[in-house]
Each structure stands twice: as structure tokens, then as C-alpha cells.
Symmetry: C2
Subunit: 359 residues, 2 copies
């Protein structure tokens, strides 16, 4: 055979090619099998121009027989877009990032876009490494997310680079687009729910002061009280950790002055709510009969395990992820958007507030 090989002029590109590209079938193989030119194959396989139906059939059959997958890399190189986007998470993939990722991935997959997953874990070095990598991969867009929705420095992407969108994360760059849950509205909704149930002494137990979400949720709580013509003493608005232990501790201080004990508690998150529910049971106070509790986050596994099962606010994070995907697609298509958009939360009613709210 060596003789044959040597004799044959170096024209059998097919083989050379296959060896280099790792045994993948290429459009040339299909063309050869269908006995047409590669141009024709391309036309037949894509929603192509005029072509004799018979030829098209033949090409398609050949492609199937070789189980041919066109090489997206080559395609992208030519078309100038890669059909991929990057998802960068500044900190760990946490509990909150997960549904966002899910929503985003779902939205992108529906549009035949692939998502690169990048975790920067609070390390700016790592983050910019990821950004460079994504840029090298010519992603069509980038989504930035985080474990907590507070401000962060903008991503180092030139204006000429791909569009960037911040989800559950925000930045100071006034030209950036940030998508966030409506913490204030959610908290308003929670408080209003208690008001509608007839609660009048509504307290608020929430997380660390330095979270923007804490401030927003408190504002929502206050606004709802005000709207109902109610007010609350300072001692009824407690700031601490995002934990069950803090919930129990706060409850103790709320019930120290038994005469002024609240009949409703709006919690900063579900863990706090869980602590409060447990604390109440241990004090022999009946929830929801004597005290209504609302949580925040709708951390399902926790909310359902709490006794009574928590009525809580859902930030609709998955939908937030989907919306990010949709918007990013628009930006990729050329739309320019900026500013901060907040998506509505939902109230999930379970058992911790008592009888259904009167409309």
C-alpha cells in the first residue's frame, strides 16, 4: 500500500482532514457519499435555496448514514457569532444562583444557545480570567450573577465586546442592565397579607443591616404598615443574622414584654421564620392562631418542613433567569437596554398565617 500512497499525488484531502480533526465526519464525507459538491450539501442541510428534491433527499440520507453533525466551530467562525453565552457567578453557585441558572439555561436551550458556566468565587483574578476566556470563545453575551444582590464593580468588558446583563447582582455602571427581584414589593405583599388577616401588631425580624435586601424589605414592610394606618415601635423591627438561631433569639426579645407582643411577624427570610415558628411552639404560643408568620425566599424544603408550613414570599428566581435570557437575546440582536429592573415576587400561602386573607 505504501507504494500506492506514495504514487498518489497529495490530493486526497479527505483523509488528511479526518486525521487532524479527530475522526469526525465532515461535510466532505457527506458530499462524497451523496456524490454532490459540498456547496450542495450545505444548501440541502440548512434551510436552503432551490434544490432538486431528489438531491436533497439523497444528501440528507447520506448525512444520516454518516451521522453527520456539522461543526459549530467552523460555522461560527464564518457567521461571526458562536451561539453561546457565558454565565459568571461572582461567588459560589449558591442556593439563589441555582434557580437563576436553571431559568437561564432553559431559556437559552430553547433558542439553541449553549451556556458556559463560570464560577469566580469572590476572586477578582479568577473572574477576569473567566472573562478573558469567554471573550476568546467569542460568546455572544454574558450574564453575571451572585449569591447576594448587592453592588459589585462592573465586568471588564469593552463597549465593543458582547452585551452583559447583571442578574441578582448589580453594578454602578449606569449603562448596565440589572435584573433584580422586587424585594420591597415582596415585603409589602407579605405585610399586607397579615394586615388583611386582621393582624395589627406586626413585627419585622430580618437579616444583617449591610444587605441591601434588608433595607428594601424593611421599607416594604413599613410602607405596608403605613398604607394600613398602622405603626410599629422600634423594638418590633429587629436586625440580626440570616439564621434560625437569630429568629429564636429575636422572638424571645419580642415576647419579653408580653403585653406588647406582636400578633404577626414578617421575617427577612425563611430560616428566621423557621426559628420563630420553633420558638413560638416552645413557648406554647399557638401559630398561626395567636401569631401569624410570613417568611421570605420560599425555600421549599424548609418552608414545608416548618410547623406550621410557612407562608412566604417567592422571588421567582427561575423566572428572573428566564427573563435575563430573553433580554440578553434582545441585546445580542442589537437592542440596547440599561438601568435596574425589578421583577415582582409572589406570595405563597401555606399554613403559618391562618385563615385565608379576605381578598
Amino acid at each position: 500500500m505504501s507504494e500506492d500512497d506514495k504514487a498518489r499525488p497529495t490530493r486526497d484531502f479527505g483523509e488528511t482532514r479526518k486525521r487532524a480533526a479527530g475522526q469526525q465526519t465532515t461535510i466532505h464525507d457527506v458530499a462524497r457519499l451523496a456524490a454532490v459538491s459540498i456547496g450542495t450539501v450545505s444548501k440541502a442541510l440548512n434551510r436552503g435555496g432551490r434544490l432538486k428534491p431528489e438531491t436533497r433527499e439523497r444528501v440528507i440520507a447520506a448525512a444520516k448514514q454518516l451521522s453527520f453533525r456539522p461543526n459549530d466551530l467552523a460555522q461560527s467562525l464564518h457567521r461571526g457569532h458562536s451561539l453561546t453565552v457565558g454565565l459568571i457567578s461572582k461567588d459560589n453557585f449558591g442556593r439563589f444562583a441555582m434557580p437563576i441558572m436553571e431559568g437561564l439555561e432553559e431559556c437559552m436551550a430553547d433558542r439553541s444557545m449553549a451556556v458556559f458556566m463560570c464560577n469566580a468565587t469572590d476572586d477578582p483574578e479568577r473572574e477576569s480570567h473567566h472573562v478573558r476566556s469567554l471573550l476568546g470563545k467569542r460568546v455572544d453575551g454574558i450574564v453575571v450573577t451572585a449569591r447576594r444582590a448587592d453592588r459589585r464593580p462592573p465586568l471588564e468588558v469593552a463597549a465593543s465586546g458582547p452585551p452583559v446583563i447583571y442578574v441578582f447582582s448589580q453594578t454602578d455602571d449606569p449603562d448596565a442592565l440589572c435584573l433584580l427581584p422586587d424585594d420591597e414589593g415582596g415585603s409589602f405583599m407579605a405585610t399586607e397579607h397579615l394586615v388583611k388577616l386582621g393582624r395589627r401588631r406586626i413585627a419585622h425580624v430580618t437579616g444583617p443591616e449591610n444587605f441591601e435586601a434588608v433595607q428594601l424589605r424593611r421599607r416594604g414592610y413599613r410602607a405596608a404598615l403605613q398604607a394600613a394606618g398602622l405603626s410599629a415601635p422600634d423594638a418590633h423591627c429587629l436586625t440580626g443574622a440570616w439564621s434560625e438561631a437569630w429568629g429564636r433569639q429575636a422572638l424571645a426579645s419580642l415576647f419579653d414584654d408580653a403585653d406588647n407582643a406582636p400578633d404577626g411577624i414578617v421575617c427577612g427570610n425563611d430560616q428566621i421564620a423557621r426559628g420563630i415558628a420553633d420558638g413560638l411552639r416552645e413557648r406554647g404560643v399557638d401559630a398561626p392562631a395567636a401569631v401569624s408568620i410570613v417568611g421570605f425566599d420560599n425555600w421549599q424544603i424548609l418552608a414545608e418542613a416548618t410547623r406550621p408550613a410557612l407562608t412566604t414570599i417567592d422571588m421567582n428566581l427561575k423566572e428572573l433567569g428566564r427573563e435575563a435570557g430573553r433580554r440578553l437575546m434582545e441585546m445580542i440582536a442589537g437592542a440596547s437596554m440599561k438601568g435596574v429592573r425589578r421583577l415582582p415576587c409572589s406570595l405563597i400561602v401555606r399554613d403559618s398565617c391562618g385563615g385565608r386573607a379576605k381578598s
Copy 2:
């Protein structure tokens, strides 16, 4: 200007190119600025052959000035590998998938590989769509994961396709490589811990029978008892849901026969353990003084919130993800591996078992 444009022969490739590729700087731009050929640029930018240092400097400077990122797509097209892998999750990105993803991503990022994130959510249609997409993107390898480690049909990837590895997920294909936590060993370790603490009537409360993990963990529990010369009545080995409620319920049945109540409980997961801890407190039984509890999963937020904080088994999922990354890289490099490997779990000691184990 139109005149100029028309007059000029179609030789100014640079401009044409830039327009098509979305304003990205190319190697040609760098070459022009540095006044060298593109071959030289390539050599200078990659760890390249012999080159006059001065020239190299000049090229690098030019590249920096234009903030040039080589197009990985083009590079991959030529080299025949894409420096990307795909991560397919059969079901949702759940609590277990998260650390695995983190570990994998970390490992890959360290090797300058990017990870595509694909979620199939129990939909075989969606899964094969994702596989096709990954194949089209010419990923160098694929990782399959799941919410639960039970068997699944193998991924539809031809033998000639990229290597596949199953993590926290397994398949019947005897040629596949599956990476799993050592459930049996973990449970053995948990039980042994109680034995060393002097517990003699050790019960086991676990999840649904149809989980492979349930069977393995039970086996580990039994083996540890046997190794210690202990035994347990059938009534001390309870199967139910993976929930707190089941934990409380099981506890009730365990303590119905007060004389035969256990002094140690090995739980199938942390939620069950939490239910048991709560149940114990509500019955006025002191844990860990009277009863030791061990959980499983080391779901940190839950384990720490439990009173007493749970001693539990950590499946080291992040490490599992890293290991998957390492192995996949070896497979990409040509190694062939198969079979089921189980990675060791760790015992995380907190407060729910009482005094430190001797030895």
C-alpha cells in the same frame, strides 16, 4: 468616499474581515501594527519557536494595544480540540449537583477548559438535544450528573465520540466510568462513631427503599454493627421519606416501646436527623446525653441549625466533581477507564453525638 471604495481593488481584506466578524481584532490587525507577518505574530504569542526577542516584544505590545484575544474558535478548528467539556444533568440542578458542578468547574478552569452547562430535567428528548448540541460544539468530553445516584440509560454518544464520565449517577454500560460517593463506607463510619462512643442500641432511620443509596447505607450500618458484635431488631431499622416529618414519626415509633428505645440513631440524611433531634427535644429526651444522632449529607445550613448541631457524614461532593474533572482530562488525553469508583466520605463531628469518640 464611495469613489475611493469603488476605486480600490478588493484587496483590503482587513476591513472586509472585521465587518463580518463583528469588529473583533484579528491577528491581521496585530501583524499590521507590529509590521510583521501573521505567522510571526502566531509564533510570538504562543509559546513559539525561535524569534528575535525584540520582534516578540513588538508583537506583544501591539497585541496588548489592540487588546487582542485570539479567536478560540479558529484555533480549535485547526487544532481539532475545543478546550470545552459539557456537563449534563439528567434532572434539575439540585442541592447535590451544585457542589459537584463547583468542583468540576474549578478543576476545568484550572486547566483552561470551559464547561457547558446543560439541564435535561428528566426529559430524554431534552437530553438528546443537549447531547447533539455538545457534539456539534465539538466538546472534548462530557460529564453526566444527576440529583440522585441511581442507574440511568447510557448517554447516546458513539464510541468514536468524546469520552463520557458519570458522576453521582451511574449506568449499566459496563464500559462506562462512574464516580460515586461511598455510601456504604460513609454509613459504616457513622455507625462506628456511635459504637466508639459506647452506644449499644443503635437504630437506623432512612429514606425510601427504592433508592440505591438507602440500601447501601443500610448495609454499611449493618456491617458496622456486626463488626462491633452488636445487632438490632428489625423495628430499629426504619424506612420512609427523606423528610423531617418522617424523622419525627420514626422517632415516635422507636420510643413507643420505651424499654427498647435506642441510645443512638444513624439517619439516612440530615433532614431525618433534624426531625429526630426536634422530636427528642419535644419528648424531653436529652440529645446527645441520652441519645446520639448522626446525620448524612452534611447539609451545612441545616446541620448547624439543628439543636444539637448535627454530627454527620459528608459525601465530599465537591471533591467528587474535581476528581471527575481530573479523570475526564486523562480520558481526553487518551486513557481509557471504566467501572464504578467510589470515593470516601468524611465524618463531620459537631454536637449531636456527645463526647469525642475514643481513638
